[in-house]
């Protein structure tokens, strides 16, 4: 299944598309407002990009420095090569502690590792404690956005979902009532959890601590109640010094939602007395991407989601159309690095407008990388033989000026005289909802020969 066919399904309901587009555009506008209050915004982006480039260039060094300092702080550090190793590390810790129920705050990495189904298979109850993630979990769906996981769901749908799972009364989508119900439901889960899982937004090599940003306080609620905290982190989240943190904290929430700062920016340095704190450093393809020079900058990503909110394609095709854990522009340059064949259509799901690159707080050249992936994908997968043929033909025609002129003349004439059904049919994707240009009598070159060359 490819992006265009999934997008087409989403677009069938135009009212819904308009609503989805406007909701996300609203977030983009809030981001613009927040960024514009900040005269040094562009310098800050540049600085953040440089810090990331530097960290990635010495990632091995900083990871080891982090391990040393975190261990000295009393944090247990684990290394996972891939998703399978990550999941096994988590489960082994749980087994040692007899963990049966856990709460998990938002972590795209655990989505990437498909941790939930793995743990459920081993009899562990997993509750996603971020409201949006809990909604998609109850609906047996996946997040459609990395910051706003349930952005594709309308209030009435959540109302129905809660009636079914949380036994609420029909409330006509009353947000206050529904949030209160979710709160009560989640509080009970927090109270009973044997362990809390979180993601990691930033890890600081210098101090051996890590930072988790949320708006709902759900990460804190989980880890402050449970005797065991496991944090899962992609290795690219490393930053060198404590003072670098401010650069990213200033960019993250502003880019994500237009807030000045996330409601909770929690720094974890050592385990609470009587509890255990573990962190798992996960590679899962990141070092391979690090080795690809033209795609290296994709690892700058701080998962703010701004490229999704700004992307005119994402807003109109919905996050699920990308069929990848991280959707939208950034997902379209990360996912082919993990499975090029499966995600072959994603780098083409863009008009290359470049809005993503301009909005990105860490200056990833997203649209350039989309262009580069396109070149790699057509070479290394058997993507659409008919397109390959027509591109080869076009390349040939454009190097034969005489034939190009003749073909142009023939084409324009054909458009004029052919009956409409022969031009507008199922083979003509352009003409499904658009007219072709009205063919003029003369091409410019023909006009020029007649009006300038002869006189001149």
């Amino acid at each position: 299944m490819s992006h265009p066919s999934e997008a087409q399904k989403f677009i069938k309901n135009e009212n819904r598309v308009n609503w989805h587009d406007e909701s996300l555009w609203h977030v983009r506008e809030k981001r613009d407002k927040a960024a514009n209050l900040f005269p040094e915004w562009e310098q800050l982006r540049e600085k953040a990009s440089q810090i990331k480039a530097h960290s990635l260039s010495r990632l091995d060094h900083y990871l080891e420095e982090f391990e040393k300092n975190a261990t000295a702080n009393g944090i247990k550090v684990h290394w996972a090569n891939d998703a399978i190793e990550h999941n096994e590390i988590v489960y082994n810790i749980f087994r040692e502690h007899g963990v049966k129920r856990i709460v998990k705050s938002k972590s795209m990495l655990t989505e990437e590792c498909h941790l939930n189904p793995f743990l459920e298979k081993h009899g562990v109850e997993v509750i996603d404690s971020d409201l949006g993630e809990r909604i998609v979990q109850l609906a047996k769906e996946t997040p459609s956005h990395i910051v706003l996981p349930a952005i594709h769901k309308k209030r009435m749908e959540i109302d129905e979902l809660f009636q079914k799972h949380l036994h609420t009364q029909p409330s006509n989508g009353d947000a206050i009532y529904l949030t209160a119900a979710a709160r009560e439901h989640l509080r009970q889960k927090f109270m009973k959890a044997d362990a809390a899982l979180t993601g990691v937004n930033f890890a600081i090599a210098e101090t051996g601590e890590f930072v988790v940003c949320t708006n709902e306080g759900n990460a804190d609620m989980g880890v402050h109640l449970a005797p065991l905290h496991i944090a899962s982190m992609g290795i690219e989240k490393m930053i060198p010094r404590y003072e670098d943190l401010g650069v990213f904290i200033r960019l993250l929430a502003r880019s994500a939602t237009g807030q000045q700062v996330t409601t909770y920016t929690s720094q974890f340095r050592k385990p609470r007395e009587g509890t255990e704190l573990h962190i798992i450093l996960v590679d899962n393809g990141r070092t391979v991407q690090l080795g690809r020079e033209k795609y290296r900058r994709s690892l700058h990503c701080i998962r703010c989601g701004a490229c999704m909110n700004t992307c005119p394609v994402y807003r109109r095709s919905g996050g699920h159309s990308y069929q990848s854990v991280v959707p939208g522009p950034i997902g379209s340059i990360l996912s082919p690095g993990i499975d090029m064949k499966k995600h072959a259509s994603l780098p083409f799901a863009s008009s290359l407008c470049g809005s993503c690159s301009d909005v990105c707080p860490v200056k990833i050249d997203i649209h350039q990388q989309l262009y580069a992936w396109r070149q790699d994908i057509t070479r290394e997968t058997n993507e659409e033989p008919s397109k390959k043929f027509s591109m080869k033909l076009a390349g040939w025609l454009f190097t034969h000026p005489n034939l190009y002129r003749k073909a142009g003349k023939f084409g324009r004439k054909a458009l004029k005289i052919l009956p409409r059904w022969m031009v507008y049919n199922s083979l003509n994707a352009w003409g499904k909802q658009r007219e072709l240009p009205e063919p003029p009598k003369q091409s410019f070159q023909e006009w020029y020969q007649q009006n300038r060359q002869k006189n001149g």
């Binding site: 265009p4 997008a7 087409q8 677009i11 587009d21 613009d32 960024a35 514009n36 900040f38 915004w41 562009e42 700004t310 005119p312 394609v313 109109r316 095709s317 083409f348 799901a349 863009s350 008009s351 290359l352 407008c353 470049g354 809005s355 301009d358 909005v359 396109r374 070149q375 994908i377 057509t378 070479r379 993507e383 397109k387 390959k388 591109m391 080869k392 076009a394 390349g395 040939w396 454009f398 190097t399 000026p401 190009y404 142009g408 084409g411 324009r412 994707a429 352009w430 909802q433 658009r434 007219e435 072709l436 240009p437 003029p440 091409s443 410019f444 070159q445 020969q449 009006n451 300038r452």
Partner: protein, 251 residues
């Protein structure tokens, strides 16, 4: 100063009036302009579709056709962007390096390398400016809405010189129209929806004409406008700049 005029393939075939307006504008301002007869395409359609390798010879032909000129001027930010930014995959001969530096969109050329005082254009209509992305974000014709800083726009700067024109403001100043080359066909549903939304913004704000620096975006929007019989039309910016009460365009 000798200018080689590059007319993108689809403009040559389908929009000769935009090409003629570009030529007439340059001539009016006293420039020496030639149109190399063997020009075809810049190579972008293949390259953006992932087939840069099939575009190489087309790109080399472009260089061959235009090597002798001081400037290559084209009525298309998108083709110019391709020449300047993506001709790094062919052998970097001195000719290629020069072409990559000297190829300019007509608006850049008019603002930075020409006087425009003698233009005397007039166009008494309500006009919406479509900021085509490759000119906007690729060549920085204007500050994009994502970037923080002082606003500027060389395209607006030119349109502001046109007598009687009323430039309307849009809800979304620089959102993509959804053309995107083969994207328009490969992602037909998304492309058309993007186009419809862009046109709607212009209609809601009272535009009679949508103009822009790229005929390709305008071709896509025109296709939707004509199919849906919407009450506005598209014109390349050169057609507006070349428009005056005394002088109606040749076609």
């Amino acid at each position: 100063m000798h200018i080689g005029l590059f007319i993108p393939c689809y403009v040559d075939q389908f929009y000769p009036q935009a090409a003629i307006a570009t030529l007439e504008l340059l001539e009016k301002l006293g420039h020496q302009v030639s149109v190399p007869p063997d020009q075809t395409c810049c190579g972008q359609p293949m390259a953006n579709s992932g087939y840069e390798r099939y575009a190489r010879q087309t790109m080399e032909l472009f260089v061959e056709n235009f090597a002798e000129y001081d400037y290559v001027v084209a009525p298309s930010g998108s083709c110019v962007y391709h020449v300047r930014k993506h001709y790094d995959t062919i052998e970097q001969t001195s000719e290629v390096l020069k072409i990559r530096e000297k190829t300019l969109d007509i608006c850049e050329f008019l603002v930075n390398h020409s006087t425009t005082d003698s233009l005397k254009s007039s166009f008494p209509y309500k006009v919406g400016l479509h900021q085509s992305c490759h000119g906007q974000r690729g060549l920085r014709f204007a500050k994009s809405s994502e970037v923080v800083g002082e606003p500027f726009s060389i395209v607006r700067q030119l349109l502001d010189k046109v007598e009687g024109i009323e430039l309307i403001d849009l809800q979304r100043a620089d959102e993509c129209c959804g053309f995107g080359g083969t994207f328009a066909v490969a992602e037909e549903a998304v492309s058309v929806k993007m186009g419809k939304d862009r046109i709607q913004d212009h209609i809601l704000n009272g535009a009679q004409v949508i103009t822009g620096t790229d005929m390709s975006c305008l071709m896509h929007m025109e296709g939707i406008i004509r199919r849906r019989k919407l009450p506005l039309r598209v014109m390349h910016i050169c057609e507006i700049l070349n428009h005056s009460e005394q002088h109606e365009p040749s076609i």
